[in-house]
Amino acid sequence: MKKKPLSAFTQRDHRNLFGANARDGAGDPAASIPEAVQRCRWIAIDIGAAEFGLFFVSPSLERARLLSSFDSSFPRVSTAAKFISGQNGEALVKHTRVSTTPCWWADADTSAAAARFAAHEFVQRIDELVPGSPGIAFPVFADRGQCGLVVFLGHDIAIEAEQILDIHARCFWLFNAVSRLSVSHAEKAPTMSKRELECLKLTAKGHTSDSIATSLRISVHTANQYLTNSTQKLNAVNRMHAVAKAIKLGLID
């Protein structure tokens, strides 16, 4: 049975539970990158971090890399962010694919920070990510399958036991807002006709042009034309690409 629209369910609540903590009052999704940077800075202030950064995990398995979205030196890129998005981030990418547990690191010199991190139940210790500064990285995931990390650096980071859950939740919320921004920046959802969407939906279900034509009672050529149009509108190179893009943009489910 296909899930039917439930009016009781459709009122998706975008209010941020932690709006008050973040001193922003309203709690609407961050509307721009500078605003997101500001929100991230509030989190950093709350836990006593000196620097922060938000990274996307590149979806390709070949290039297991972290792509920097912004950091505390916005609009420039900090040295720490360059370290993280370089070779050093690889282990962290692997971790993020299989686990949501926060990771921390510290060098031996800064044992005070190490002791504070080690007191937490679920956090994991990893190899030093940025030389000279302890830090903590929160894996985050968004609706359309994007994953990423929110990283905080500093010698004075202090997070209480239960607070780590709230901080992580705020990171999730922030990443959702940022990932929605980057989608709408990169490719605005094109306007598709009803028929084009129908054809694309059937393609995603494994139908061929022939069977689409039969089930929609149109000619094969028309079905192909609809698919060509939708592929072009999505700026895709072929049907597989178009289907992938349409699902990621939420045009079909």
């Binding site: 439930l6 941020n16 949501t100 859950l165 939740a169 959702n176 995603a204 992938a244």
Partner: protein, 234 residues
């Protein structure tokens, strides 16, 4: 329940890590007790070509209730827009109030079975997605903030038992190479192009993609790509 009070984590000591199915059940039971919830159900949802299929990973619902509510309603609850993503305030579904759209009969069944208030929570364990349904017999007992913290804890805890979850859910049947090939297919690359990217022959790429298609029991590449994206595999 006040939000500041009890640490909701039953496996508080570091030594006590989850390893077996019994550990997982124990963890979820303790989680429910600490929150004041009466029942839990942890499910994975597989998007087949035609419908959503529910796999129950762990649950303390009575057998009759699971049967009576049915997999399709469980999927509906879990996938409803109301299901709280991490970082968003969870909103309960109060079945006693007979919410519009759920269907009076559906709501009544859930209410009679002791699921008067249901929190549907999305869990991210790495790239894998699960859903946790927490319900109580009396509406208004659970504190949304506590529920959110429990949701986060659950994500951490489930990360300790990936094999256990995979065995039940089987969400990602693909090998690394198959996943990689399918990812490039979804990016619009042809087999020849993928062969160049990965440094293997075109036939090898076709074999990988065909295996992926078979594993999803899809009828062609487009369907395999769609299934993989819906399940968060690529």
């Amino acid at each position: 329940m006040s939000s500041a009070a009890v640490p909701i984590d039953p496996s508080a000591s570091r030594a006590r890590r989850l390893a077996t199915r019994a550990d997982l059940t124990g963890y979820l039971t303790a989680l429910c007790q600490a929150l004041g919830a009466d029942s839990y159900m942890l499910v994975a949802i597989l998007h087949d070509q035609r419908r959503s299929d529910v796999r129950i990973v762990a649950s303390n619902w009575i057998y009759d209730a699971t049967l009576l509510v049915g997999h399709h309603r469980i999927a509906m609850l879990a996938e409803s827009a109301q299901a709280a993503a991490l970082g968003f305030r969870p909103e309960p579904l109060v079945t006693r109030a007979a919410p519009a759209g759920l269907g009076g009969e559906d709501a009544r069944i859930l209410d009679i079975l002791g699921h008067s208030e249901i929190y549907a929570l999305r869990l991210n364990v790495g790239r894998q997605r699960y859903f946790l349904l927490l319900s109580s017999e009396e509406p208004g007992i659970l504190d949304p903030h506590d529920v959110m913290r429990a949701q986060m804890r659950c994500c951490y805890a489930l990360g300790q038992v990936p094999e256990l979850l995979a065995a039940t859910a089987q969400q990602d049947p693909l090998s690394d190479r198959e996943r990689e090939c399918l990812y490039w297919v979804s990016e619009g690359k042809t087999s020849d192009e993928i062969a160049l990217i990965l440094g293997v022959s075109g036939n090898t790429v076709n074999t990988y993609v065909n295996h992926a298609i078979q594993k999803f029991s899809a009828s062609n590449r487009a369907e395999a790509v769609a299934t993989a994206i819906r399940n968060g595999i690529i």
